[in-house]
């Protein structure tokens, strides 16, 4: 795709291709502030991947994200979506093509769930029929049965349900790009974990290019295909896959930020069934299933005081993982 495609009108099912986002020496300075909020940020987010922007407060994560939909205007440099500079587009046209999810959700309290989700389709002039169909499809996607939820108001939803609607609303016009600003930051831990997993499941289906801002490195590791760590002054400290960030932090700042338990965090990136394991050959030990993470496998070893766990595949085959093998893997 050489150019951004014209706004799809009724083609609800016509899935748009994901697009690449490029930050090209993007800089944002606020007048009267000594250091920039975002300082010469250069990175490429591949089409269809999730890039988590993490870092301490004051690191300019949110500012960097807002450069994409121009809620914050660039001071210098460029941001390109699908090869086109965001500054070349009209603000509102640009924003209607980018899903936007924020921590406080910002549902319109005077509109029903359905009307909220229909916001952008309406702005784009979709037909009633197509909009309605899309609403049902999206509520289904975010696991809110349309029949029960369509006519509710925000005040009649729980925090988790509100953010699901927020996600559906952002996805409504099937934008190729999504910006998410600490979307699960205000939720309780259980709801949060559930929504993180839902997002991963949804992303499997929709394959958007997502910029996901969070201050929580664990969330970034779970959600991100790529992680961009910003330090104070909006300087990019490291941009890499979660595994690389944990395995080889670029500097002391990143190492401190990801935590001294980064070895354990790295183990949580991999499940037992993703490894080539040795046959169990009758070895004894606690039995785990293939979907267990290496971190949980290690924890089991420590709990049970053994150096071996048995991994039982879905087909009943038994393999084993030893502590020595686990140590090898971290190298």
């Amino acid at each position: 795709m050489g150019t951004v495609r014209p706004r799809t009108l009724c083609a609800v099912r016509d899935r748009r291709q994901a697009v690449e986002i490029v930050f090209d020496h993007a800089t944002k300075r606020y007048p009267g502030r000594a250091s920039p909020a975002v300082d010469d940020l250069t990175m490429t987010i591949p089409a269809g991947e999730v890039c988590c922007l993490v870092g301490p407060s004051g690191g300019g994560k949110t500012t960097a994200m807002k450069l994409v939909n121009r809620l914050v205007e660039l001071t210098s440099g460029d941001v390109r979506v699908d090869g086109r500079s965001v500054t070349s587009l009209d603000e509102t046209t640009l924003r209607r093509g980018i899903g936007y999810v924020i921590q406080q959700v910002g549902l319109f309290p005077h509109m029903t769930v359905a009307e909220n989700v229909a916001t952008v389709p309406r702005l784009l002039g979709w037909s009633k029929q197509a909009t309605r169909q899309r609403i049902d499809e999206l509520l289904d996607l975010v696991d809110l049965p349309a029949r029960d939820y369509r006519s509710r108001y925000a005040s009649q939803l729980s925090g988790g349900e509100r953010q699901r609607v927020g996600l559906a609303r952002a996805l409504a016009a099937d934008p190729p790009v999504m910006l998410m600003d600490e979307p699960f930051g205000a939720l309780d831990p259980i709801t949060r974990t559930r929504l993180q997993n839902e997002l991963l499941r949804i992303q499997q289906q929709v394959r958007k290019t997502i910029i996901f801002v969070t201050h929580d490195i664990d969330e970034a590791i779970l959600i991100g295909d790529q992680i961009a760590i910003l330090r104070e002054g909006g300087v990019l400290a490291q941009y890499d896959t979660p595994d690389q960030v944990l395995a080889e932090p670029a500097d002391d700042f990143v190492a401190r930020f990801v935590g001294t338990d980064r070895g354990l965090k790295r183990l949580s990136l991999t499940q037992l069934d993703e490894l080539q394991l040795e046959p169990a050959n009758g070895a004894a030990g606690p039995v785990l299933d293939g979907h267990t993470t290496l971190r949980d496998a290690l924890s089991t070893m420590l709990n049970e005081g053994t150096r071996t766990v048995v991994v039982e595949g879905d087909d009943g085959t038994r393999q084993m993982l030893t502590l020595d093998r686990l140590t090898e893997l971290l190298k």
Partner: protein, 235 residues
């Protein structure tokens, strides 16, 4: 034979003749010629005052919402008008607009502006920041945000303002009788001069009743147009 100078008002009942506390027979007889027309005039006086006041206030509030510096001058002018006693205001206006309904309406409109302007502006400003950010982020233009988000969300505050304005205008409009003999103030003023209790009570009660009914109707209107504000919260 000279005609009698004093017109024949017919026989007054004992109740009226003795000026007892309240005479229902007088009310029955005078509903059509006196009370009902006064009530209708009163409704007109109020409706015009609040209607015109609302249009002015809404315009001023929208302007002040976009241009912050407009707020202070409007608020000051409206507050100054609000503090002028009604009789003094009539006195000031009569030389200009005469003993007319216009004089009365100018004064009544003046008194509604402060309340309606403040409430409308407060309503427009009460929209939560995250709602506005979401609106901007989704690509609503400024005017779309105003029409689809800010104004609908300001409706409860606007109606709250209308309720105060309507009730206070109904009360104030009785004073209109000092300028023109329109509204429920007419019978009240006349009866005060004669110290005729029944008429004072009947016209006064109509004004109170009108205020209660108007207020109730506005509450119903609010429920009808803002179902979201009264929606049951999540269980």
């Amino acid at each position: 034979m000279a005609e009698p100078v004093i017109p024949d008002f017919g026989e007054a009942s004992d109740c009226v003749a003795e000026n007892r506390f309240f005479c229902t027979d007088w009310v029955r007889e005078n509903w059509d010629p006196v009370l009902q027309p006064a009530l209708v005039q009163h409704i007109y006086l109020t409706a015009i005052a609040v209607g015109v006041g609302f249009v002015i206030s809404l315009g001023a509030a929208l302007l002040a919402h976009r241009l912050r510096y407009v707020e202070r001058p409007v608020a000051i002018v409206a507050a100054v008008i609000y503090t002028i006693p009604s009789l003094a205001l009539f006195q000031l206006l009569v030389p200009v607009t005469g003993l007319t309904v216009t004089t009365v309406e100018i004064a009544l409109v003046g008194y509604t502006v402060l309340i309606l302007f403040r409430n409308t502006l407060a309503g427009l400003r009460s929209v939560p920041a995250e709602v506005l950010e979401a609106a901007r982020g989704m690509g609503l233009t400024r005017n779309q945000t105003l029409l689809r988000v800010e104004l609908p969300l300001a409706v409860p505050a606007i109606i709250a303002g209308l309720r105060i304005a309507v009730v206070s205008t109904i009360a104030l409009a009785t004073v209109a009788a000092f300028v023109v003999s329109k509204g429920l103030g007419g019978p009240i003023l006349g009866a005060l001069r004669l110290d005729f209790r029944t008429e004072i009570i009947a016209a006064g009660a109509l004004a109170v009743g009108l205020a209660i009914v108007a207020d109730g109707l506005l509450v119903l209107l609010q429920r009808a147009v803002t179902p979201w504000a009264t929606a049951r919260t999540a269980t």
